[in-house]
Amino acid sequence: MKHEEKHTHISLEHGSGGALSKELIEKVIYPFFQGRDFPELSDSSCFSLQGRAFITTDTYVVDPPFFPGGNIGSLAVFGTCNDLAVCGAEPRYLTLAFVIEEGFSIGELKKVLHSIKKAAEDAHVKILSGDTKVVPSGKGGGIYINTAGVGESIISFNLSPSRIREGDTILVSAPLGAHGITVLAARESLKIASSLSSDCASLYPLCRSLCSLGEELRFMRDATRGGAAAILNEIAESRSFGLEVVESNFPIEKKIAAAADILGLNVLEIANEGVLIAVVSENAGSKALELLHSKPLGQKACIVGRATSAYPGMVILETTVGGRRVLDLPRGLLLPRIC
């Protein structure tokens, strides 16, 4: 009899370290990853890397864990791989640690595991180690995932905002706002959700492509929490240059713009999980755009602005109607309007 036929939901006993824990790992989790790429069950896993390597860690607590276009599993894999990719590293190995709330459906856990498996295949990354803990009902948000990721550098230098010079070109790889709006709409059960889908995807193909520019590539970031506005401000903060961007140049899909408008949100401040912001030299701008356009995920990429010496440390936005103002860091919670 299958494990989930006897146990439909996670119980505290699944996290006890005893027989039921062993059964959960061996019969539910392990089968998703068993194969030539997955090690035998042991306390730790061995791997080797060549040359410069990068390591990152992240924790995923998305609410709700399932949303159109993905779930917490695919998000954890792609999110961690993207943190490596934007540093110019090829994602190689991941670890996954689950914190599951008592009462979480084992059927849903299997859906998460299936997404993890598929995302790991898409991103060509191997899952080397894992852990499972169970917390009492009411003490967790269904399921949380913590990851670590290791990648091998494909360039010989560190990408950094300190490499940015006046005139450098800023690019955005894909339309903004899809992930944040989709999750928010799913959380609040808003009807607009039916036509929306998260952009959750691996950015490595785009990053690898831009790395071919060599030192003309200055810096890359995935525009996650806080959206493009937060990343642009992080790039400019405390620097001797500022960034000038043009609102109407940002790729934004009409349905996302409409949904954000209804919710009173600014698309530039909304989280993305499949959008790369890159800064390249002035000369390499059009080549970088070509490189992005040649990849499926970068077909709607746009040049959105440039680095300037005029406003050091600041991000300046030219608005749709040609006004100019500071583009600030997003502040406060995403509270709805009251009138």
Partner: protein
């Protein structure tokens, strides 16, 4: 269709043409002009679209008392806090009220983890909240004519259903009496009103006719997209140039002459006009909405014996002047230093629609 319209309302060429006309009109008038945007959403839209950056130098946009959080006295927050301290109840509120400090510097957000303060997104949630338990639920009723009808309909439903554990603590405000108070102010310092689009959807044009009397000022009902705003400003300038003070509707795609009589009827069934204390403006006659005698059992102020609401301004904070258009946010010594959206001192920095918050968030470029 709506999306196409939205794009047109951001059209750069159209904007350029309007700006050209605005510059011409401003030049013809030739003197310093102050236009008060009465509504908080206008304040945000003007700042967000960067319209300030290309208005002629002799035009200043000033904020009015149109952000519901900003005009709520600190004493109201004090009373709400005392309810939590002294009574076994749950407070329900719109999110923007959470961070407003009372006179002791404490805000409702202190209680957010306790489960005793609940943020609601739609007033209709109040019914199911009340039905799910016995404990009293007090709703902090703030807002203008835009918000009041929805809240009123919920309490009328609660009355019909005999719900006894739901209470309203009203601090509602109505716009026309505030406009009258601003007009009659001895140190009035504005030349025209950009009238609120959303409020006008409910009110229509008639309640603004007071502006057309001798001594009045131009009033133009305006929408919230950049082209709407530029169009509204241009209509105001044309009136000023012609020496007129008329009420105009520059937002006809949303506002009808008669407004929304049904919404007004719902509001007036539950509530009746009352004198109301406004932060910064003091008591304005008949500018509030209190429960009618028939529905008095809903009144949290009576049920829990709350004291009269006091006015209080934090030391150094000039929100009271800002919402009367008598000072600009950056003239406050706290602005952007001791008072930021992350750590607000006054209500205009708390509310996303407050003038200080909008001026901080969508700052103009340094000169």
């Amino acid at each position: 269709m709506l999306i196409v319209l939205k794009e047109e309302l951001h059209d750069r060429n159209l904007a350029k043409a309007l700006i050209g006309e605005i510059q011409k009109a401003a030049e013809d008038i030739g003197r310093e002009l102050k236009i008060m945007e009465v509504c908080g959403t206008h304040t945000v839209s003007l700042r967000r679209s960067g319209i300030h950056s290309f208005l002629p130098d002799n035009i200043t946009m000033i904020s009015g008392p149109g952000c519901p959080v900003c005009v709520t006295p600190a004493g109201y927050v004090d009373n709400a806090l005392s309810l939590l301290e002294e009574e076994e109840l749950t407070l329900a509120t719109f999110g923007d009220m959470l961070k407003v400090p009372g006179s002791g510097g404490i805000s409702l957000s202190r209680y957010i983890g306790s489960g005793r303060v609940r943020i609601i997104y739609s007033p209709s949630d109040l019914i199911s909240m009340a039905q799910s338990g016995e404990k009293p639920i007090v709703f902090l009723g703030i807002g203008f004519e835009t918000t009041i009808p929805t809240i009123a309909s919920v309490f009328l439903r609660a009355f019909e259903q005999g719900i006894h554990n739901l209470f309203l603590y009203p601090a509602f405000k109505t716009v026309p009496p505030a406009l009258q108070a601003l007009l009659s102010s001895p140190d009035r310092n504005f030349d025209a009103f950009l009238l609120p689009g959303h409020v006008s959807v409910i009110l229509g044009l008639e309640p603004y006719r007071l502006l057309e009397k001798p001594g009045g000022v131009p009033g133009v009902i305006t929408g919230f997209e950049p082209i709407d705003l530029l169009g509204g400003i241009l209509s105001i300038l044309k009136q000023l140039r012609a020496g007129e003070n008329k009420v105009e509707n520059a937002y006809p795609r949303a506002v009808r002459r008669e407004g929304n009589p049904r919404a007004r009827e719902i509001m007036n069934r539950l509530l009746q006009p009352s004198d109301e204390l406004w932060r910064g403006l003091g008591i304005i006659p008949l500018s509030g909405m209190r429960l009618k005698a028939k529905y008095m059992d809903f009144d949290a102020g009576i049920r829990f014996g709350l004291p009269e609401i006091r006015n209080f301004e934090p030391p150094g904070c000039i929100c009271a002047q800002v919402i009367q258009g008598k000072a600009l946010p950056n003239q406050c010594s706290l602005f952007g230093k001791n008072c930021t959206p992350d750590k607000p001192v006054g209500p205009c920095m708390v509310s996303s629609e407050g003038s200080c918050a909008a001026n901080f968030r969508y700052r103009e470029l340094p000169v």
